[in-house]
C-alpha cells in the first residue's frame, strides 16, 4: 500500500501536505509501544499506520510490551475502571502492574526521539524518561470522562510525567498539568476490511457462515465484551422480531489482552439457543474480508456500546454507506449526528424502535447512509489521522501557538 494510492480518495493536495509535514520530521525516530499487535482497534490502526509513516520518511518502530495472563487480567480491570465500571483493584495487583512495566522498561529498547505510548498497559514505562531524556506522549483510547477516581489519581502521576497526552474527545480529558490534544481515531479505506468487495466475495462469505439473504440483516461487529452490550443487542432484536422479520449477526473476535471475551461469548451463545435467525460468529483474527463482507451485506449496523472510546466499527459502517444505530456514548457522539448521518440511542427499547424505523423506511435509511459515507470521507480516514500525528510530533518541538514551518 502506498500513500499515493489515497490521492484518488482524498485528493492530491492533502497527500502532498503529508509528505511535506513528514519531511519536517526527517531524522527523528518514533517509537510506538502498546500491548498487542493483533486484535482490537488500536492494533488495527497501528498495523496500517506504521508502514505509511515509514513510507513517508518518518522512521517509526512499533513494539509491544510483554506480560503474563495475570498482568492482562489486571490491565483489563484498569481498562474497565477507567471506563467507569466498578472494579476492585488490590494493592498487590497494582504492584504487579508496576513490576511488569519495570521489567519491560529494562528489557525494551526505549530509545528514539519520541516515545508514543498507547493506553494504560505500558503507561508506567515513562519512569525511564528521565534517564533517557527523549520526548514522551501518551495516547488514551479510553472514555475516561467518569473514571474510578482512586485509580485515576494513581495513574495521573504517571500521565503527568509525559510531555503531552492525546484523547479522542474533549470530555475524556481530565485536568492535567501537561498539554492535551484532541485526535480522533480512523479507519483505512484501502485495507481489506474497508476496500470495495465484489458481490461474489460477499456472497461467498455469507455462504461460509450459512447466512441467507431472504430477510433484512442487523449486524453488530465487536469484540465479545460486556461494554459492547451484546446481550442488549439480542434483547433489542427480540423486541423488533415480533413485528418485522429480520435476522441478527453478532460477530467478533478475541484479543490477547482481553481474557474476559471467552466468558462473554459463552453467555451470548446461551442466550441465543433456539433462534436460527441469530448468527453468533467467532471470527479468527484477522478476519478482515469476513468483517467487510458482513458489513456490506447488512441492512443496518448496530453499535450498542455501554462505553466507547471511539467506535471504529461505526466508522467502518459509515464509510460503507450503511445506516448505523449506535449508543450515544463516548466518542460515538463525535461520529454520529443524530438523524443526519445515523441514529443515536440510549436504551434497548430505543434501539429496537430505531431498528424498526429504518427497516420500515428504506429511503430514510439510505439517506442516513449516504450522509454517513461523506462524513467518514472527510473526517474518519487514516490520512487525516496521520496528519494529526505528524502535527502532534512537530508540536513537541514547537511550543508557539502559530508555527511557521
Amino acid at each position: 500500500m502506498s500513500i499515493n494510492e489515497y490521492a484518488p480518495i482524498i485528493g492530491k493536495g492533502p497527500v502532498e501536505e503529508l509528505k511535506i509535514l513528514a519531511e519536517k520530521l526527517s531524522g527523528k525516530i518514533i517509537k510506538i509501544i502498546n500491548s498487542t499487535q493483533m486484535g482490537g482497534g488500536v492494533a488495527e490502526i497501528l498495523n496500517r499506520m506504521v508502514p505509511l509513516l515509514n513510507e513517508l520518511g518518518v522512521l517509526t518502530k512499533w513494539e509491544v510490551i510483554s506480560g503474563n495472563a495475570d498482568f492482562f487480567v489486571i490491565t483489563k480491570k484498569i481498562h474497565n475502571a477507567l471506563h467507569g465500571t466498578p472494579v476492585t483493584i488490590t494493592d498487590d495487583e497494582i504492584d504487579l502492574f508496576l513490576q511488569n512495566n519495570k521489567i519491560n522498561a529494562e528489557t525494551m529498547d526505549l530509545s528514539g526521539d519520541i516515545v508514543f505510548i498507547h493506553d494504560p498497559q505500558p503507561l508506567a514505562l515513562v519512569e525511564k524518561k528521565k534517564e533517557i531524556g527523549n520526548k514522551w506522549t501518551w495516547r488514551c483510547h479510553i472514555d475516561t470522562h467518569a473514571p474510578d477516581w482512586k485509580l485515576w489519581g494513581f495513574l495521573r502521576k504517571y500521565v503527568e510525567m509525559y510531555d503531552a497526552a492525546v484523547f479522542s474527545s474533549p470530555s475524556f480529558a481530565q485536568t492535567l498539568s501537561i498539554n492535551k490534544f484532541l485526535i480522533t481515531p480512523s479507519i483505512d479505506p484501502l485495507s481489506l476490511k474497508n476496500q470495495e468487495l465484489s458481490k461474489k466475495t460477499i456472497d461467498s462469505v455469507l455462504k461460509k457462515f450459512d447466512i441467507k439473504k431472504n430477510k433484512p440483516i442487523i449486524t453488530q461487529i465487536s469484540r465479545f465484551d460486556r461494554l459492547k452490550d451484546p446481550i442488549g443487542v439480542i434483547e433489542a432484536y427480540n423486541l423488533v422480531k415480533h413485528s418485522v422479520d429480520c435476522q441478527l449477526i453478532l460477530a467478533g473476535g478475541t484479543a490477547i489482552d482481553d481474557p474476559e471475551s471467552i466468558e462473554v461469548l459463552s453467555e451470548v451463545r446461551e442466550r441465543v439457543v433456539g433462534d436460527p435467525d441469530i448468527h453468533v460468529l467467532e471470527l479468527e483474527t484477522p478476519a478482515d474480508i469476513e468483517v467487510n463482507a458482513l458489513q456490506r451485506a447488512s441492512t443496518i449496523i448496530l453499535q450498542k456500546s455501554i462505553r466507547e472510546g471511539f467506535g471504529l466499527t461505526v466508522s467502518e459502517a459509515m464509510w460503507k454507506g450503511k445506516p448505523v444505530i449506535a449508543s450515544a456514548v463516548g466518542g460515538i457522539t463525535l461520529q454520529i449526528t443524530h438523524d443526519y448521518n445515523g441514529l443515536l440511542t440510549r436504551t434497548v427499547e430505543g434501539t429496537a424502535y430505531a431498528i424498526k424505523e429504518l427497516l420500515c423506511n428504506k429511503g430514510y435509511a439510505k439517506r442516513l447512509g449516504k450522509n454517513a459515507k461523506e462524513f467518514a470521507k472527510q473526517n474518519l480516514l487514516i490520512t487525516r489521522h496521520i496528519r494529526d500525528y505528524l502535527l502532534l510530533f512537530l508540536s513537541l518541538y514547537h511550543p508557539e501557538e502559530i508555527v511557521h514551518l
Partner: protein, 228 residues
C-alpha cells in the same frame, strides 16, 4: 500574459486541536471564558465547521451560537451571534468583542433565565494550534495560478481566502492582494474577494467557483491576445 515580480506562494494551514480543559455549563461561564481564552480558541469555534463539516447541511459555522441554541435554548441570542457573519470580514479580535457584547446584553435582559446543562453537554473550549506550511506551489502568472488552484488542498484555498481575517488586521485576502498588485487583475481580484465562505457549504464548491472565475478571465485574455 503578465508575469509577477513576486510569485504567489501557496501555503496551507493545518490545525492541531488542543483541549484547553475550560468548560462552560451556562451562559455566564461561556461569556467569562470567551473573554479570557486566547484568540486561537475563538478562531476554532467560529471557523472550523466550514472545512471540518463541509458536507453537512447549512447550519451555523459558529459553535457558540450552535451550543447556545441547542443546549441553552436561547434562540434569540443564537440568531444574533450567527448574524455577525454578515459583518465579515472581521478579524478574530473584533469578532470576539462583538460576540461578548451580545452575550453581555443578553445576560442583562429580562428574557434571560439562568440554566445549567448537565456535565455531558458542557461547552468544551478547544484551541487550534496552527501550522502554516508551504505546499510547494509557487506561481508567477494567471495560468500557473489556475493550475495550482486545482491541485492544492482545500485548507490552502481557505487559508488564502479567509485566513487573513484571523491572522492580521488587514481585511484583504491573499489572492486579492496578489492578483491586484502583482498581475494588475483588479476586476478578477474584486470578484474573488466577494466569495463568501458561508455560501459554499461544500468547500469543493468554493474551489470550483474560484476556478470558474479564473478560467473565465484566462479565456478573455486568450481572446484579446488572439485579436491583437
Amino acid at each position: 500574459m503578465i508575469r509577477a515580480k513576486n510569485p504567489f506562494v501557496f501555503k496551507t494551514r493545518l490545525n492541531l486541536l488542543e483541549i484547553t480543559g475550560e468548560k462552560a455549563k451556562n451562559l455566564k461561564d461561556l461569556m467569562g471564558l470567551t473573554e479570557s481564552v486566547p484568540l486561537s480558541v475563538v478562531y476554532f469555534h467560529t471557523q472550523h465547521l466550514l472545512p471540518f463539516q463541509q458536507h453537512l447541511s447549512p447550519k451555523s459555522p459558529n459553535d457558540f451560537a450552535y451550543w447556545i441554541k441547542k443546549e441553552l435554548h436561547e434562540e434569540v441570542l443564537s440568531e444574533k451571534i450567527i448574524a455577525l457573519d454578515l459583518q465579515r470580514p472581521l478579524n478574530a479580535h473584533d469578532f470576539k468583542e462583538k460576540m461578548i457584547q451580545l452575550m453581555k446584553s443578553h445576560l442583562a435582559s429580562a428574557e434571560y433565565r439562568e440554566f445549567n446543562v448537565s456535565p455531558s453537554k458542557e461547552f468544551n473550549f478547544i484551541k487550534a494550534k496552527a501550522f502554516i506550511v508551504p505546499t510547494g506551489h509557487k506561481v508567477y502568472n494567471l495560468f500557473e495560478f489556475y493550475g495550482a488552484l486545482k491541485e492544492v488542498s482545500i485548507d490552502s484555498i481557505y487559508l488564502h481566502l479567509f485566513g487573513a481575517e484571523t491572522f492580521s488586521e488587514k481585511h484583504e485576502n491573499d489572492f486579492f492582494y496578489w492578483l491586484k498588485n502583482e498581475l494588475k487583475e483588479k476586476v478578477l481580484a474584486d470578484s474573488i474577494s466577494r466569495l463568501d465562505p458561508f455560501v459554499f457549504y461544500a468547500t469543493e464548491g468554493l474551489r470550483a467557483q474560484l476556478i470558474k472565475l479564473v478560467n473565465k478571465r484566462l479565456r478573455a485574455i486568450k481572446k484579446s491576445e488572439g485579436a491583437s
